[in-house]
């Protein structure tokens, strides 16, 4: 596996879907020293051959294709996208790490920010992805972006319901499978399962890293006080903290990726963000942990484990 030089210390946003990761990535990426990518799916697999087999026929490939079109071919035109797809195909023998190191070298000294959401019940798979980042970029910094489990659950289910109207059933089935509570018969769709599985795996992995290498942030805090959040992030990442640099960060709409891409690479992130990428600071809706979950027909609330973990993240 290719290992990037020490100087290259990307920022990886670890988040579940529907947790403001598109916004956070675009905001960070607007800092004059950082460069935000889309969802590349890069470390979900070991090799580009696997990547090609798993993603190239789906919208999941759009993020990497758009990034390559922009970085290697100079823009997100229809022609550049076609060339980007061919570029990926020709690199089937590369490891996934080779591709991300190549991109990071191309944009150096900008620092890449990546944000492929984590969406698996298998904690080992989550840890494996994080481990691959560490192996490839020993100096990687992880931004663990969390959202209140209730708000996350509502948003995720609403989003899947919208998606279900046009996405292929097989794809939807795969995504719903990640939300199943298997303790009931029949299984119940309950996003808290995924919330707990991902965040607990991430939490246990990050706790073994040096403190400076990771930071946990509540998405709600980012929306409430974006300038303050930007300043905290810049300080943590040891990059410019002047007003101009921070001012750039509250304009995610200026990112080259803050829009829908051309045909054959339309997405690569949250479509709702692409349609309206402007930042609107907002006071978060008050959510509680001892609430009967609106998506459960049996009226159950969060499990004790979820409540404990959420409390450790600062939620009440």
């Amino acid at each position: 596996m290719k290992v990037a030089p020490d100087l290259n210390r990307p920022v990886v946003i670890i988040a579940l879907p529907r947790s403001y990761s598109s916004l956070a990535c675009a905001m960070l990426g607007q800092h004059p020293q950082l460069y935000g990518l889309l969802e590349t799916q890069i470390f979900k697999v070991e090799t580009m051959n696997e990547w090609d087999a798993q993603f190239s026929d789906t919208h999941d490939s759009d993020g990497l294709v758009r990034a390559i079109a922009e970085i290697v071919f100079g823009g997100q035109t229809r022609r550049a996208v076609n060339r980007a797809r061919a570029w990926i195909t020709r690199r089937a023998t590369w490891s996934a790490a080779d591709v991300i190191v190549h991109l990071s070298e191309r944009i150096y000294p900008f620092i890449i920010v990546e944000k492929t959401p984590f969406e698996t019940l298998d904690g080992q798979m989550t840890i494996e992805r994080l481990r691959r980042w560490c192996e490839c970029f020993p100096g990687v910094r992880f931004l663990h972006l969390v959202r209140h489990p209730l708000a996350y659950g509502r948003s995720h289910l609403e989003h899947l319901a919208k998606m279900a109207r046009r996405a292929e059933p097989v794809r939807m089935q795969r995504r719903y499978n990640q939300l199943l509570d298997m303790s009931t018969e029949p299984p119940t769709i309950d996003p808290q399962t995924l919330w707990y599985s991902v965040h607990s795996a991430v939490d246990s992995f990050l706790s073994r890293l040096p403190v400076q290498q990771h930071r946990r942030v509540r998405g709600e805090a980012m929306l409430e006080q974006p300038m303050r959040w930007a300043a905290e992030m810049a300080e943590w990442l040891e990059i410019r903290t002047d007003d101009e640099a921070l001012g750039c960060m509250i304009h995610p709409e200026c990112s080259p990726f803050a829009n829908l891409g051309p045909p054959r690479a339309r997405f690569g992130g949250d479509p709702e963000f692409f349609r309206d990428p402007k930042l609107r600071s907002a006071k978060a809706r008050r959510n509680t942990l001892n609430h009967a979950l609106p998506w459960r027909p049996d009226g159950r609330s969060f499990t004790t484990a979820v409540c404990e973990l959420a409390r450790s993240f600062g939620y009440s």
Partner: protein, 458 residues
């Protein structure tokens, strides 16, 4: 002056020479000190130096037009520069040449029309007349899209780094002369000077000669099959043999090693290029500086402090052999050079570039005069030339000049009258230099649209 919200992107494509990047870093540091934000897009060699001062904002060029233009636009989209500074435009001037870091072509010029930024060209060696010729030649301009090229040159402001260019007014010249703020801060601490001299001399009263040989010169010379630097040691050993005090020549070059083939009283010390600070320290500790590049950028810090002699050759081999009275060391060296590669001896003042035809005649006339007239005034620098070679503050000595060259060195090192005259000329030059604006002042004026339109290329 520039203000804090000025964002400057500097493009430095030269991949074998240090002079351009050293000059640009100096400009960039002045701008940064005045609050501007600086980004570099530079060749691998130039990027290595730029990173020493602008580590987080230096991008390295690749070896294709597409890759370099992509990087340019990536930076431009991200930082929205209000000033773009270009160091060289060899792609326009020599379209057949294959540069290591190609950048400017018709596509880029066309796309540049969408960039809302002031464009600036740092003209090191009077390239503007040639650019103007290209603009009026339809078939030349057509290589670069015609209209986009002319529109680019109409937008392209010219600034002239000093000391390299004449700081005073020069008729018909296009461009705004400016000085680096650091140029007046160059001070010679006696303690540091003595310390540096003691590293190379057993007695501080001996002569320390600083000699600089550029990597690009060696590479270009070798590509042409000429190896003058292999014989330079013999020539210098002859020229400095009979001085009252022993002479040590410190030759600073990554690619050239000087030595004398016979027994010599001159000692040679060869070192690789140190960092720019050490380079300057060594230079300012010396008694005399030698170069074979009349427009050397790296030596500009010596202006006003140490005399610089540029070794030129104004004659072809036949003339030189005819001028040699007796077969001696110079005669032997010339023959050895020619035996190794016929055609190695030709007129030049920036080795290994040959004089160009019309200019050659002019040079030859001037040089013959230098050789023939013993009046010391003929050795004083030319400062007001206009044309392909701009201006030089340096003394000239003929590389194969024999006794005349020995006299030049002797007088510069030992004749108080000559040194006084030189110092006077240098002080007058420094006065003219002080009258120019600094880099940040020039850019500030351009951003405020104060400058006159005659300072764009066309």
């Amino acid at each position: 002056m520039v203000s804090a919200n000025v964002r400057v992107l500097i493009v430095c494509a030269p991949s074998k020479a240090f002079g351009e990047i050293i000059t640009l870093i100096s400009l960039a540091k002045d701008l940064a000190q005045n609050g501007a934000q600086i980004w570099f897009l530079a060749s691998p060699l130039a990027a290595t130096l730029a990173r020493q001062h602008f580590a987080d904002t230096t991008f390295e060029m690749a070896n294709t037009y597409e890759a370099n233009q992509n990087i340019f636009w990536r930076i431009a989209k991200k930082i929205r520069p209000n000033v773009v500074v270009l160091a060289e435009l060899y792609e326009l001037l020599q379209p057949r040449r294959k540069p290591d870091c190609p950048f400017v072509n018709a596509d880029w010029l066309r796309s540049l029309e969408s960039l809302d930024a002031i464009l600036i060209f740092v003209d090191f060696i009077a390239h503007v007349p040639a650019l103007r010729e290209i603009a009026v030649c339809d078939s030349c301009a057509a290589l670069f899209g015609g209209g986009p090229l002319r529109s680019f040159l109409r937008r392209l402001w010219v600034i002239l780094p000093c000391p390299l260019n004449e700081p005073g007014a020069v008729q018909e010249r296009v461009g705004i002369p400016y000085h680096a703020e650091s140029i007046f801060a160059t001070t010679r601490s006696d303690k540091a000077r003595l310390q540096t001299r003691s590293q190379y001399l057993s007695n501080p009263n001996h002569y320390l000669i600083f000699r600089s040989g550029s990597t690009w010169q060696t590479k270009l010379a070798e590509s042409q099959g000429v190896y003058q630097h292999q014989y330079l040691g013999d020539l210098l050993a002859f020229y400095f043999a009979d001085h009252k005090q022993p002479v040590t020549i410190v030759s600073v070059s990554d690619t050239q090693r000087l030595h004398s083939s016979g027994s010599s009283t001159v000692r040679f010390v060869n070192i690789d290029n140190p960092d720019p600070y050490e380079y300057e320290r060594l230079m300012l500790a010396s008694d005399l500086i030698l170069t074979d590049n009349e427009i050397s950028y790296g030596l500009k810090a010596a202006i006003g402090s140490i005399p610089v002699v540029v070794l030129v050759n104004s004659h072809c081999l036949d003339d030189l052999l005819a001028m040699c009275e007796l077969p001696g060391p110079i005669w032997r060296t010339m023959l050895a050079l020619e035996r190794q590669h016929p055609g190695s001896i030709y007129p030049h003042c920036i080795y290994p570039l040959q004089f160009e035809s019309a200019e050659a005649n002019d040079r030859k006339a001037n040089a013959s005069r230098d050789m023939e007239i013993s009046n010391i005034n003929s050795m004083l620098p030319y400062t007001n030339r206009l044309g392909r070679m701009q201006s030089s503050q340096f003394f000239r000595a003929e590389l194969y000049g024999g006794q005349a060259t020995v006299d030049v060195f002797r007088r510069i090192l030992m004749d108080a009258q000559v040194r006084d005259l030189w110092k006077k000329g240098e002080l007058a030059y420094m006065d003219r230099l002080k009258a120019t604006a600094s880099g940040p002042e020039v850019l500030g004026a351009l951003l405020d649209h104060e400058a006159l339109s005659r300072h764009t290329v066309i």
